[in-house]
């Protein structure tokens, strides 16, 4: 008993009790610490998760803004269509994954069951189009062309069509006013993908599951403005999805309208004339290849010279932009992107590039003047130019004897430029340039003219073209020398010989390279939009404008008008006096030079509307020549090119002339009829916005191109013709037109 203390407990118990007490308190401390961690340190993250938990969004998509031409005529707008959609989640719940329902649906819609099933399958690496690349949780549109009868059938027998809905929806429409389809400029839409949603999640314009996103053209470039903001109503819901809380609603904000500088009438004329010129070219025999010209593709740009605004931009082959609306069919998709499609989705005005041919000579002329050669000096225009045993022919003109640079432009004398380029090449040190920077006036000028980089047009995926300067040659050689050295043979075929030479000294600037370069042949690549920008700059006194298609963004209510001002990206490296002389020379091209047979000699009112032009015919190894035609007046610059189309003035000349006729109202006999002029001066200002936000638009003739031709000839035309511009619409030629073209002179004349 003595060892038991008075409390009745031994020290062992006492110690253990204290241990228990400490243990208990540390347990509670652990809880407190964990509580602090969850609520204070990580509280924000959990709060966010909680709000995602119990908030359901109901999305009301915003109406996408329209795209209008310069006069307010819609070239892309919306229409209400009956859309039949299938819910994948519902279909997958069925035993056969909804096959029976889809087959029944196909019957009602008059489609093939396989076609319907293709539309609802999800896109992945192995699934070709058509497939659904939007969210699998969103109803997938099967057709947006359901008739009211079909929609009724589906809705009345809802029990037969579980997971299928038929609802009226606003869908994109490309109305093609006056048959101007403007396809590549407008672009197209397709559903937003999961990746895009995640990527844009934390930006200021997140995507919604239901969004359609602009994939190319203006639809893509101005997607953010056009898209608007979908209305989102947030409901607080419980764990079963029942609405319990009050709703918080953001109203849908319709997208803004985009007013462009496109004039749909001129656009139609440009498209029609381009297509017609290509058809014409295909009837012409090419002596070099022994077959007709292929004229596989072409582009034309009509630009306001003083602002860089695009009045018309056509690319051929083209397609019907409405093919994309409501999901594209397998057939259409193949037609647009397949190997044999010739890629109508490409906008060749900004994505097509080729050697510029003699249209490049304005740059060589400027370079020569920069290098110190007198514009008015005398330079021999011989019939050929020889360097080290290699003979460079004067392709486009005859022997004119000593002439000045202006005359060399007029008659497009190659040998004058050969001589200048060769001398500059020698001054820079020849094949092994001296230490220090070679002057490279000819290459520097090209860069200063904006070649080798994008013009900054407000259309996506513009290509840069290429200036084949020393840097490029070095890089290109490094990338290709292995292949060249492998295939090159000293005494092989032409290609093998070239490879052999390239392997040896492809990284060096050879005399022949610079000589070829001076007349726009060889490795130089330009886009039509670059050339239009350059010729517009020559017209406007030397300012290189960033071409723009968008002119103003007008909010849906019309209250805010955000004009897109012209921007410049540089000045031409030419003095005022040289520019004036060059301007004269280019006018000379149209009056007595290579383009005279398209203008002055066939009734162009040169005194009233001074025309300036430069022709170009680019050699492409293994292909037929590329036709280039660059022109300008004081208001417009028009550049047309046809790949494998023949000569500059030959293939493109008549079409460009016709576009000018339409713009200024010039008749075949040279009289100007103001009434027929579509746009004698560039469109100033914006179309009128009504108080309700809608935009006033004039009526557009059924086919301005046809109308123009009739008015130019001043005779009624009995025969109706159709256009070969759109894919899937085979067309017949227009005989009247051809006859008239012949009157303007033989194609076989000079070029």
């Amino acid at each position: 008993m003595t060892n038991i203390p008075e409390t009745g407990r031994t020290p062992r118990v006492q110690i253990r009790l204290i241990v228990i007490q400490i243990l208990v308190l540390s347990l509670l401390g652990t809880l407190g610490g964990r509580l602090w961690y969850l609520q204070i340190r990580e509280g924000d993250a959990y709060a966010k998760e909680a709000s995602g938990n119990h908030v359901q969004q109901v999305v009301e998509p915003a109406v996408r803004g329209s795209i209008l031409d310069a006069r307010g005529v819609p070239i892309a707008d919306n229409e209400t269509r009956l859309v039949v959609s299938a819910s994948r989640t519902d279909l997958l719940k069925m035993k056969d994954d909804g096959k029976a329902v889809l087959t029944k649906l196909a019957k009602v819609l008059g489609m093939k069951p396989a076609e319907v099933m293709q539309k609802v399958r999800l896109c992945d690496a192995e699934t070709p189009q058509p497939c659904w690349n939007g969210s699998p949780y969103q109803p997938i549109p099967i057709t947006d062309e359901a008739t009211a009868k079909q929609a009724l059938q589906i809705r009345e027998r809802a029990e037969d069509f579980p997971g299928i809905t038929a609802e009226p929806e606003a869908v994109r429409r490309y109305p093609s006013p006056g048959k101007a389809n403007t396809a590549q400029v407008l672009g197209y839409l397709s559903p937003v993908t999961d990746e895009e949603i995640t990527k844009a999640q934390d930006t200021d314009s997140p995507y919604l599951r239901s969004d359609q996103v602009g994939r190319s053209g203006l639809e893509r470039e101005y997607d953010k403005e056009l898209r608007g903001k979908a209305g989102v109503t947030r409901y607080e819901v419980d764990n079963l999805g029942r609405v319990i809380g009050q709703a918080e609603a953001d109203e849908a904000q319709p997208g803004a309208n985009l007013v462009t500088s496109i004039d749909s009438r001129v656009q139609r004329v440009a498209e029609y004339e381009l297509n017609d010129a290509m058809k014409e070219a295909r009837k012409q025999f090419d002596d070099n290849t022994g077959e007709n010209y292929k004229a596989d593709s072409g582009a034309v740009v009509v630009m306001e010279a003083k602002t860089g605004r695009i009045v018309a931009m056509a690319s051929n082959p083209t397609y019907d932009p409405n093919a994309w609306v409501g999901g594209i069919s397998a057939k259409d998709y193949k037609k647009l992107t397949g190997k044999d499609s010739n890629y109508p989705l490409l906008n060749r005005a900004i994505q097509g590039q080729s050697a510029p041919g003699s249209t490049f000579k304005v740059i060589s002329t400027a370079a020569a003047v920069e290098a110190g050669y007198d514009f008015d000096g005398r330079y021999p225009c011989t019939s050929s130019y020889s360097v080290g045993g290699q003979v460079f022919k004067n392709f486009e003109s005859e022997n004119f004897g000593p002439i000045n640079l202006g005359r060399a432009l007029e008659v497009s004398c190659d040998t004058v430029f050969y001589g200048l380029a060769h001398r500059e090449w020698q001054r820079d040190g020849g094949i092994n340039p001296k230490k220090g920077e070679p002057k490279d006036y000819f290459f520097k000028a090209a860069h200063q003219f904006g070649l080798g980089k994008t013009t900054g047009i407000d259309l996506p995926n513009e290509v840069t073209g290429r200036v084949p300067d020393r840097q490029w040659k070095q890089a290109y050689w490094e990338a290709n020398k292995d292949a060249w050295c492998k295939t090159g043979k000293k005494d092989g075929t032409y290609v093998e010989k070239i490879s052999y030479e390239n392997c040896l000294e492809g990284n060096k600037m050879r005399a022949g390279d610079e000589i070829n370069y001076s007349i726009g042949q060889g490795d130089t690549m330009v886009t039509p939009i670059q050339m239009a920008t350059i010729y517009a700059a020559i017209s406007n006194g030397g300012t290189l404008y960033n071409p723009t298609v968008g002119k103003a963004v007008v909010s849906a209510d019309g209250k805010s008008v955000d004009e897109i001002a012209p921007k410049s990206h540089g000045k031409l490296p030419i003095s005022k006096t040289t520019l004036a002389k060059m301007d004269d020379a280019l006018a000379g091209v149209a009056t007595r030079g290579t383009a005279a047979w398209r203008f002055a000699q066939v009734g162009w009112p040169q005194e009233k509307i001074p025309m300036h032009a430069k022709t170009g015919t680019a050699e492409v190894y293994g292909k037929q020549t590329t036709s280039w035609f660059a022109t300008y007046t004081k208001d417009y610059s028009i550049v047309m090119t046809i790949s494998q189309g023949g000569t500059g003035s030959g293939a493109s000349g008549p079409a460009v002339r016709n576009i000018y006729d339409a713009l200024y109202g010039v008749s075949d006999d040279g009289t100007i009829n103001k009434k027929n002029a579509l746009l004698p001066t560039p469109q100033k200002g914006l179309p009128k916005v009504r108080t309700d936000g809608t935009i006033k638009s004039p009526k557009v003739a059924k086919d301005p191109a046809k109308q123009q031709r009739v008015s130019q000839e001043g005779a009624p035309k009995p025969e109706e013709t159709t256009l070969a511009a759109t894919v899937g619409q085979p067309t017949s030629g227009n005989r009247n037109t051809r006859r008239r073209r012949r009157r303007r002179g033989s194609r076989r004349m000079c070029t």
Binding site: R9, T30, L31, E236, G245
Partner: protein
């Protein structure tokens, strides 16, 4: 205190009664008020949380939004009465009745195994009495195990025969605890078994039994846990709960759902919470069993760190005072009973709150005083009564 002034100026029979109540060494003066207040506060907070969790749940509250609130308050009242009764009887008086109480509680849990018992949330541990009332006898077993073991272990020591309980006594006590534990394990109510194991551990520690027993028990527990796991004694739902505890994102819509939603609810509360009745997780019923096992999530979301922390502090007060009572009482019997209660409350609170915070696996244990549930409420208040009784009663004259 007013008691002093009464005792000085006290005259007249009525006042004499008050005087006696608050006089030095009077019952009221010797009661442990902090425990009483903390327990009442916890029950009060509990009633608000239960109300918040159930007022909109028409599918279980029979269209009466006060259904659970009223019953929770009623349970608290009954529990409070049971506490007074316990104090009145005194733990020493109860000591003599321990064999009867023990027998009764074992009988009740045996009843659960008969067709009278019913299954709730995978545990077959309830006796439904009808009228919305049901009994969970394993709650009472916790008390009778404490009392029974204390009686056996303290008998020889309190009589002054031995300083510590000998091996035979310890064996007897363990056997006494093992019988109901085995039955509860058959239900299976693993959570309760875990609590009982901890109780046994606490009781052995406080009894002064040899270290060998303590470590032996710990080792047996560990081996037993492994055996249970390996031999597939656990039901699928129990394994799933443990797996979800180890990795809550395993199946966020299935078994991991509870823990995930519970953590989201608590985490979103922040410092001060969304306000009582304004928790979106609670209103949206994203957390299951929110008025019972997951009641702490309501506190976490709606009262924030401040409110949820207060609950932990109040539990701390109860446990701290209970530890003091265990240390200060002169009899080993009282010490063992108090220590057993400490082990019970501490582990059950830690397990319950810990599972809502994601640091313990999910088991169906109520939070003492706070969770809705009659039997549990009665049991914890009886335990408070026992603590008070130990505190109040003077040492027996040696």
């Amino acid at each position: 205190m007013t008691g002093n002034s009464f005792s000085v100026s006290g005259y007249g029979p009525e006042r004499a009664g008050w005087t006696r109540l608050f006089a030095r060494d009077s019952l009221a003066r010797r009661l442990d008020w902090p425990i009483l207040f903390a327990a009442l506060a916890l029950s009060g907070i509990g009633s608000l949380l239960v109300f918040s969790a159930t007022r909109n749940r028409t599918e279980i509250n029979q269209g009466d939004q006060y259904y659970f609130l009223i019953r929770h308050i009623m349970n608290t009242g009954i529990g409070f009465a049971l506490m007074i009764g316990t104090v009145w009887l005194g733990h020493r008086a109860l000591r003599t009745a321990v064999p009867i109480l023990y027998g009764a509680s074992v009988f009740l849990i045996l009843m659960v195994l008969t067709p009278l018992g019913s299954t709730v949330n995978g545990a077959h541990s309830w006796i439904v009495l009808g009228g919305g009332f049901s009994l969970q006898p394993s709650e009472f077993v916790k008390i009778t195990i404490i009392l029974g073991m204390a009686m056996l272990l303290a008998a020889r020591v309190d009589a002054g025969d031995k300083p510590y309980p000998d091996h035979r006594t310890v064996l007897q006590a363990l056997g006494l605890a093992a019988v109901p534990m085995l039955i509860v394990m058959l239900m299976p109510d693993l959570g309760s078994v875990m609590v009982m194991v901890i109780i046994v551990l606490g009781v052995l520690l406080a009894s002064g039994a040899s270290n060998r027993w303590v470590f032996g028990l710990l080792g047996t527990g560990a081996i037993g846990a492994i055996a249970v796991w390996q031999l597939g004694i656990l039901d699928d739902y129990q394994i799933a709960r443990f797996a979800a505890f180890a990795n809550p994102s395993l199946d966020p819509a299935g078994v991991g759902y509870n823990t995930n939603q519970a953590r989201i609810a608590i985490g979103s509360g922040g410092l001060t919470g969304s306000g009582l009745f304004h928790g979106s997780q609670t209103t949206g019923q994203f957390v299951p069993e929110q008025q019972t096992d997951f009641v702490f999530t309501v506190a976490g979301e709606e009262l924030g760190f401040v409110g949820a922390g207060l609950i932990i502090v109040l539990l701390g007060v109860v446990l701290w005072r209970a530890c003091r009572i265990a240390r200060e009482t002169t009899e080993l019997y009282g010490t063992i009973v108090a220590a057993g209660i400490v082990a019970w409350f501490a582990f059950q609170s830690f397990e319950n709150i810990g599972m809502t915070l994601g640091i313990m696996p999910v088991t169906g244990l109520p939070l003492p005083f706070v969770s809705y549930g009659g039997t549990s409420m009665f049991a914890v208040w009886v335990a408070v009564g026992l603590l008070q009784s130990i505190k109040v009663q003077r040492p027996m004259s040696a």
